[in-house]
């Protein structure tokens, strides 16, 4: 059965994967440059770009070989590559590499929206997930609630007006001196603490479905400044509970207004334990199917780009070789 090679270089992961038309993943290779960014409290675009150039060829070659393909004659149907959104100096590495492969192999290639890739991620693990699907997409760069009637038919119901959820984790972790990235360490601490010791204001209390996390970060800073009596675990628990409360409240509102048969969690913050428990409980309460991704599917990967690419190649056809990287490509512009 025909396959597509996916390539992803929008942030700090250099990734390649081969996915079959029936969405079976034949190989998925992810190399992260995160260790180089730790000292800086966030991804340094220039370091990420440099890492991609050094890693792209071995990563793609490994993905091809692990799928049993010959890099000279891969016998695939096409190539999918992230064209945006993301860091421009990183995007153009994957995009240029993919164009060269398309040219040399004389195959169609397609520039994929990274966020649409995240929306396709649940299909790889749960192809039977029923439409319509409500996805809570939360990562270090994005936070949004997306409603899909079918593949490729997405409606952004709400998104963050300031920081992404993962960004809030990183900023709070930095404030507390816990290093980068902040998600895993705060999540671990939160499970040992009690949220009740530090009351924090709930965000975005209105009817709308947009999200906001910069106020929460500021509230944590204000509430903890000069307070040596507070246990870190309790601060982490209060922060995590407040952040999850907002996400789950907005997700509940979205599900109340739109008929959905399934709900999925996607993006790096989908690894968060409070969110996973909350989404599972909400879905059970409302009688819809819940999809919680495996941890490997939370982080950026190329299998999801290949999955989105399979759909885009079939429905829109190939991209032209003069395609530009689109660092600010809005999901709403993906028709």
């Amino acid at each position: 059965m025909e396959s597509v090679l996916g390539i992803e270089t929008s942030c700090d992961e250099t990734a390649a994967a081969v996915v079959r038309r029936d969405l079976v993943t034949l190989s998925s290779v992810v190399e992260s440059s995160i260790d180089q960014h730790r000292d800086f409290g966030g991804v340094v675009p220039e370091l990420a770009g440099r890492a991609h150039v050094a890693t792209i060829r071995p990563v793609v070659e490994r993905a091809l070989r692990e799928a049993g393909l010959d890099p000279r004659r891969p016998g695939i149907a096409g190539i999918a590559v992230t064209a945006g959104p993301g860091l421009v100096g990183s995007l153009l590495v994957g995009l240029s590499f993919a164009k060269a492969l398309a040219l040399a192999w004389d195959l169609p290639y397609v520039g994929v929206n990274h966020l649409e890739g995240h929306l396709f991620a649940p299909r790889l693990e749960a192809p039977g997930l029923e439409w319509p699907l409500m996805t809570l997409l939360v990562s270090g760069g994005h936070s949004m609630i997306v409603y899909q009637r079918g593949p490729g038919e997405h409606e952004v119901l709400g998104e963050t007006v300031d920081d992404a959820a993962g960004e809030a984790y990183d900023k709070v972790a930095r404030w507390l001196g816990l290093g980068y990235p902040g998600g895993p360490v705060l999540d671990r601490l939160a499970r040992e603490g009690s949220p009740a010791r530090l009351p924090l204001p709930r965000g975005m209390l209105g009817e709308g479905l947009d999200l906001s996390f910069s106020g929460l970060k500021t509230a944590v800073v204000r509430a903890t400044e000069g307070r040596d009596d507070l246990a870190l675990a309790d601060v982490a628990a209060a922060f995590q509970a407040t952040l999850a409360e907002q996400l789950l409240r907005k997700l509940r509102a979205a599900l109340a207004r739109h008929d959905a048969r399934s709900v999925a969690l996607a993006g790096g913050v989908a690894a968060n334990s409070a969110l996973r428990e909350g989404v599972a409980a909400l879905a059970a309460e409302l009688g819809v199917a819940a999809h919680l991704p495996a941890l490997a599917m939370c982080t950026d990967n190329a299998a999801m780009i290949a999955a989105a690419g399979l759909y885009r190649l079939a429905h829109d056809g190939a991209s032209p070789l003069d395609l530009s990287a689109r660092p600010n490509w809005d999901l709403r512009e993906v028709a």
Partner: protein
Amino acid sequence: MIALAIETATPACAVALEVDGEVTEAVLDRERRHTEVLAPGVGRLLAAAGLAPGELERVVVDRGPGLYTGLRVGIATALGLALATGAALVEVTSLEVLAAAAARAGARGELVALVDARRGEVFAQRFSLEPLAALDAPRVLRPEALVSELGARPAGLGGDGAARYRAVFAGAEVLDLAVPPPSVALALARRREPVEAVVPLYLREADAVANFTTRTRAR
């Protein structure tokens, strides 16, 4: 021998193709549109020669120093072509290509090859032209600092860094040579062994990191 050379170290994007000793060269763009023009340009050049990309035996790429985004596009494209076709990869530097181009154009004596490094600096390297040999290592510095180093020593200057700071280099001979010609890269690469991997010659490794640290502290 069928060899392709890719040049992306400056705002210009250029390619050259050698088929059994015959060389065709094309400047695809001069406005930093490497991402957009390079792959279609390579495709057109191969098609015009009646070749399939799979027939490439050698891919020569300029690893800089130069424009970081341009270098990433050029090197990623070269790496992709090499993986997909099995062609051998050969690397050259922008500064040695400029020097070799100057020698080919008839310049004699010494030449300082200069590529615009932005932020008020140039990438620079000194060469003697007969025979072509580097006299120092590539580095990044302010053009004013280079002027005082050179003093009264007569040296030609070539590259877009020389053109940009023509006023600073008043009195020196500035050659009309902005883009390192990929046809010259092909010639240089003929005597060179293939490499497994190519990374850009950044010359500013610590700078990006230092800037970021300053910025985060200020935030």
